[in-house]
Point group: C2
Chain length 253, copies 2
């Protein structure tokens, strides 16, 4: 059954309009017709079953029938990353969405070469990944910002798992295993630097903050997007919603 | 300093011929000239410093000077995966190489759509990733085989971390944390199915083998390549060479 993210409110009997892209996808790509079932979610009202009520070339409507899954808590895990080239950034947004991040925040550090990211493009990738992986939300894409802006606006209680290529960082599994109660209950972010590495002044600033936990990811030099996905996976496995069996479709931390 | 994988033996004073691709890369892409330093490794003799001795358009030679890093033990971790389309397979080979697998073995399961993989192409990707990530080896690319062939040739002592989308599998961090001594000492493989999922007969066969540990990767449906990278990262973090700090450049399990 096709699964679509929509902006409209979802409730029994609601008529939900489709965008041109969605109508094209359902009709041309998936070869669906009026009467065919569809699954809808909007990030607020859970997942709903519905049926195609009308379908033209660039418009359409779904009639909502029944709630299939209630909205539930999801991990509060950000990914704050030095922007990469288009290919690796696209890939990172898709994979981080599947792994379960709540916010994606691209930034410019001192050694970041990329000068901007297109929030619209990244949001489209995040929506498609959310549709495919059965999420009930779409991660928020924050506007591109400098490292200094990110740190100036940083929420006081949000902890940072810092991917740190330097030798003094603790191995990631060890760092995650020894988190104490308050650290486990806190919201978190994984933070990764650019291909050229962190500037020493940035690392000094980060390492001196008590909210920052620097971690090491083994003896090889990982590309920035590989490090981000590895750190997110380890966090989810040891501290996030991967700790529950798959049957809990709507887990909470 | 450019870093190249070569087939030749490496020792002080050795003259190592470059392939046409390597000569092109050094001369045209990296703009290097005779006298410039190069790092070389061959998977057997450690890493050596050398200097470009000759460089033409499609040939060249490096004179080996000194050993920079001895060959050491690396994790014995295979990735056995249902072959994916070209883009995701390329991506998986690159990332799995960085994460540190020793063998990549593409296979055809019952529901695998892809009918072959090009071993030469995958090896070229694995070599480039090895050069970039400071590995001292290049992972072996096994020839494409059916699931039945893979299982028929399976080494009796090699354990399998099975990415299992079904609900009865244990969360991955829990499964890795409770491995006993013999299980930790054993060689391992991560095994992933195709986009369409495992056939029930395959899952039955795998789950009935005592060497198989099925694991779950959270409540979302991960794409096959995302699941593979997540499982490899978790294994490395909790049971592999990511347990040592980054300063151990040549760790052993």
């Amino acid at each position: 059954v096709a699964r679509l993210f929509v902006e409209s409110a979802l409730s029994e009997g609601a008529a939900v309009p489709l965008t041109g892209d969605q109508a094209h996808y359902l009709g041309r790509v998936m070869r669906r017709a009026p009467g065919d079932p569809v699954r809808l979610f909007n990030g607020r009202d859970g997942e709903w079953l519905g049926r195609v009520a009308a379908l033209r070339k660039s418009a359409g409507e779904v009639r909502v029938e029944a709630c299939a899954r209630p909205q539930g808590a999801e991990p509060d895990l950000w990914l704050v990353f030095a922007a990469l080239k288009r290919g690796p950034t696209d890939f990172l947004v898709e994979k981080a969405t599947e792994i379960g991040v709540s916010v994606l925040w691209p930034m410019a550090t001192r050694r970041t070469v990329v000068e901007r990211t297109k929030a619209e493009r990244l949001r489209a990738i995040a929506i498609e990944a959310s549709e495919q992986c059965d999420r009930l939300t779409v991660p928020e894409i924050r506007p591109f910002a400098s490292f200094d802006e990110v740190m100036a606006r940083w929420p006081a209680d949000r902890r940072i798992l810092l991917c740190d290529e330097q030798r003094e960082a603790a191995p990631i599994a060890e760092a995650l295993a020894r988190l104490d109660g308050p650290a486990r209950a806190a919201p978190w972010a994984v933070m990764t630097g650019p291909e050229g590495g962190w500037d020493p002044s940035e690392l000094d600033l980060l390492r001196n903050r008590p909210i920052v936990t620097p971690v090491a990811l083994g003896p090889r030099l990982l590309r920035a997007e590989t490090a981000a996905l590895a750190a997110l996976s380890c966090w989810q496995a040891q501290a996030g919603d991967w700790r529950s069996p798959r049957s809990d479709s709507v887990p909470s931390r």
